[in-house]
Amino acid sequence: MTLMSDKSAGNGYFGPYGGQFVPETLMPALAQLDREYRSAMADPAFHAQFADALRKIAGRPSELYFASRFTEMLGGAKIYLKREDMNHTGAHKINNTIGQALLAQRMGKKRVIAETGAGQHGVATATAAAVYGLECDVYMGSEDIRRQALNVFRMKLMGARVIPVNSGQRTLKDALNEAFRDWMGSVEHTHYILGTVAGPYPFPEMVREFQSCIGAEARSQMLQAEGRLPDVVVACVGGGSNAAGIFARMINDKSVRMIGVEAGGRSLKPGDHAASLSAGRPGILHGTLSYVLQDDDGQTSLVHSVSAGLDYPGVGPEHAMWKDSGRVEYLPCGDEDALDAVVALSRAEGIIPALESAHAVAQAMKMAPKMPKDSILLINLSGRGDKDCNEIASILERRKGSEKK
C-alpha cells in the first residue's frame, strides 16, 4: 500500500481551508508531529510496518462485497459494500489509530489521548494503545457514554480510562475540547490521536492518508471484480475520515461520482441536524477553517443526530474544498431514513450497519432504483451496528408505539 504526501497541502491548507488555529502551546507539538509524519512518509520501513500492522491487527484488506439481494431489492444499480465493518474493532477507525500509535512510538511518546463520539474511535485507540503498550485516556461526552455503553465497557476492558465530559451538549464536540485541553498540559509526553480529518494541520492530511487504504483497496478490488471503477461512491460524513479515505484514491478518476452523506437529523432547521457542509458556512472550529455550524456571533450551534459519530458541528477542511470545487456532492440524510436503512440492509444481507454508515446506505437506497442495472454503486460501509443495537431497539420500539396510536 502506498501513502502519498500531498505537496499542495504542505502549507497546511486545502484551497482556502485548513490551517492551524490553535494556542501557541500546541504549535511545537504540531510541528513535531508534522516532521515525524513527513519522515515516516519518506521511510519505506514505516510503510512496511504500517502495512503489516493493518494486516495483522486490523485484518486488512477488508472485503469488497457484492450485495446481491440488496441490489435485487432496490432494482437498479449493482450495489457493492466496502466492508470496513469487518475490521477488527468494527469500523474504519482502527486504520488511523494504528498509524498514529506508530507515530507516537517514533516520537517516543508513552501516552495517547483521544476524543470519541460513538465510541468507535475510542475503542480503536484503546486497541492500538494496548497493542503498542501505551497509556490511554479517552474523552467522551456523558450523553454519548449513555448512548454507547458497550463501547465504554470495551475501552475500559482494554485498559483505557474513559473520562466523561459534562460541558456543552456532552457529545463529540465537547470531547474534542477536553482532549485539546488535556493536550495543552501534557504535550511533552502525550500524543493526541485525533479521530478524523478535521483539527489543525497536519491532522486532516495525515488521517486521510492513514485511511486511504480503504480507497486504494476498493479501487483495485473493483477493477478486479468488474473490470471498471464504480459509477458512484457513497460515504457518510461526520468529521469525514472514512469518506476521505475512500474518496482520496479515486478523486482523480473523473468518471466516478462521489457523494458524502451528512447527518440531516430531524430537519435542516438549526439545532436539528449536524449537516455542516449542507447547511453551514466557512468558519473556524477546533483549529481548522472549514464549513461549520455557527450562529452570527461565531458561537458553535447545537447539533443533533441519531448517530453519535456524526453529531459534530464541523467537518474536515478537504471536504470543504471538494464541496466548493463540486468534485464531491454533499447531501443530508435524516434520522428516520438512516433507521430504515439499518433495517433494510440487516434483512437483505444479514449485515447490521452502524447508524453512521446507515446514512450512506440510505442515500444509496434513494439513488440505486433510478440507476441502470449495469451501473455500479459503491457504499463505504464504515462500521458495524452492534454498538447501536440498544439505541436502535429503543427507537424502533418508540416508533412501533406511535404507529399504534
Binding site: 501557541e24 504549535m27 485541553r181 495543552m184 473556524i284 461565531g298
Partner: protein, 274 residues
C-alpha cells in the same frame, strides 16, 4: 495611516517604564454574570488603580481555558452576552471617561465570523486598545497583524513554555503592545506555584526585545504577582478573579457587591506593585 504611538496600552507601558513601575492586568469574562456587572467592574477596577484590563469575549468552545473561565463563558452566553453587548459596555465605559487600556481577548472563531476588518474596526471605535487572540498563532497572525497596525490596535501575541528560544524571539518581534508570556503549558486557572523557568524565560526574552512582557496563566495571589513583576512588566490574573465573582454570585450578592468583592481582591493583588 494610524500608528501605535497614540495607543493607550503603548503609552501606559512607556509611562511605567519611565517610572520603573510594573502593572497588574486583571482579566474579566465579559458578560459574566451579566453585562451590567461587567460595566460596574470596569469602573471599580479603575477606581482601585488598575491601568490595563483584559475583557474575555465568551466563546462556546474555549480550548485554552480551564473550568472557571469555561463556566463563566457558558453562563455569560446563557445570559445572552453578545459581541454587540460587550462593545456597548466598552462604549459606555469610554463615554463615562474610562481611561484604562483595554484588551479584547477573543477567539479567532468569533473574529472570522464577523470579518477581520469589520471586527477590528468596531473594537477600535468602541474603545479597545489591543487584541489578544489565543488561537491565532504566529503563522496565521498575518490575517490580523497588518489590519490591527493600520487601525492603531495592538495585536498581542503569546509565547508558551513549549515555544523554542528562536521562535520566542520571532513571536516577540511581531507582537505589539506587550508579549503575553504564558507561564505554564496547560489551560488557564490557578496553580500552586509558578515554574522557575518562567522567571528565567522572561529574563532571556528581555535580552532580545524591547517590547514589554506580561506573564499570565496560573497567577492567583499578591506574592506571585510580586515575584513575576520582578522580571516582567505586568502580571495577568484571570481565573482567580472570576472565581471570586462566582463565589459572590453563589452567595446571592448583587452586581454592586460582586464588583466591590472583585475590587477588594484586585486591590490586594496590586498592593505589592505600588
Amino acid at each position: 495611516m494610524n500608528d501605535l504611538s497614540d495607543n493607550r496600552l503603548v503609552k501606559l507601558f512607556a509611562e511605567l517604564k519611565a517610572a520603573s513601575k510594573k502593572t497588574l492586568l486583571p482579566f474579566l469574562s465579559a458578560g459574566y454574570p451579566d453585562l451590567e456587572t461587567t460595566g460596574l467592574l470596569l469602573d471599580e477596577l479603575q477606581a482601585r488603580g488598575v491601568r490595563a484590563c483584559e475583557l474575555g469575549f465568551p466563546f462556546s468552545d474555549p480550548v485554552a481555558d480551564g473550568p472557571v473561565i469555561q463556566n463563566s463563558y457558558a453562563a455569560a452566553l446563557e445570559q445572552g452576552a453578545t459581541c454587540d453587548g460587550i462593545l456597548d459596555v466598552v462604549r459606555n465605559y469610554r463615554s463615562g471617561g474610562g481611561s484604562m487600556a483595554l484588551a479584547a481577548m477573543v477567539s479567532y472563531s468569533i473574529i472570522y465570523r464577523h470579518g477581520v476588518n469589520e471586527f477590528l474596526e468596531t473594537c477600535k471605535s468602541a474603545g479597545f486598545d489591543a487584541m489578544i487572540i489565543p488561537d491565532l498563532p504566529m503563522e496565521e497572525s498575518q490575517a490580523v497583524g497588518p489590519a490591527a497596525d493600520r487601525l492603531g490596535l495592538c495585536n498581542v501575541l503569546l509565547v508558551a513554555p513549549t515555544t523554542s528560544p528562536e521562535r520566542r524571539i520571532e513571536i516577540a518581534r511581531r507582537s505589539r503592545g506587550f508579549i503575553y508570556y504564558v507561564s505554564v503549558a496547560g489551560i488557564t486557572g490557578q496553580r500552586d506555584s509558578l515554574p522557575e523557568e518562567t522567571i528565567r524565560g522572561v529574563e532571556e526574552l528581555r535580552k532580545h526585545v524591547q517590547t514589554p512582557v506580561c506573564v499570565g496563566f496560573g497567577i492567583s495571589d499578591p506574592q506571585t504577582v510580586a515575584t513575576v513583576c520582578q522580571v516582567a512588566d505586568g502580571a495577568i490574573v484571570g481565573s482567580a478573579i472570576v472565581k471570586r465573582l462566582m463565589d459572590a454570585k453563589a452567595r446571592g450578592a448583587t452586581s454592586r457587591e460582586m464588583a466591590a468583592c472583585a475590587g477588594a481582591f484586585v486591590e490586594e493583588l496590586i498592593t505589592p506593585l505600588r
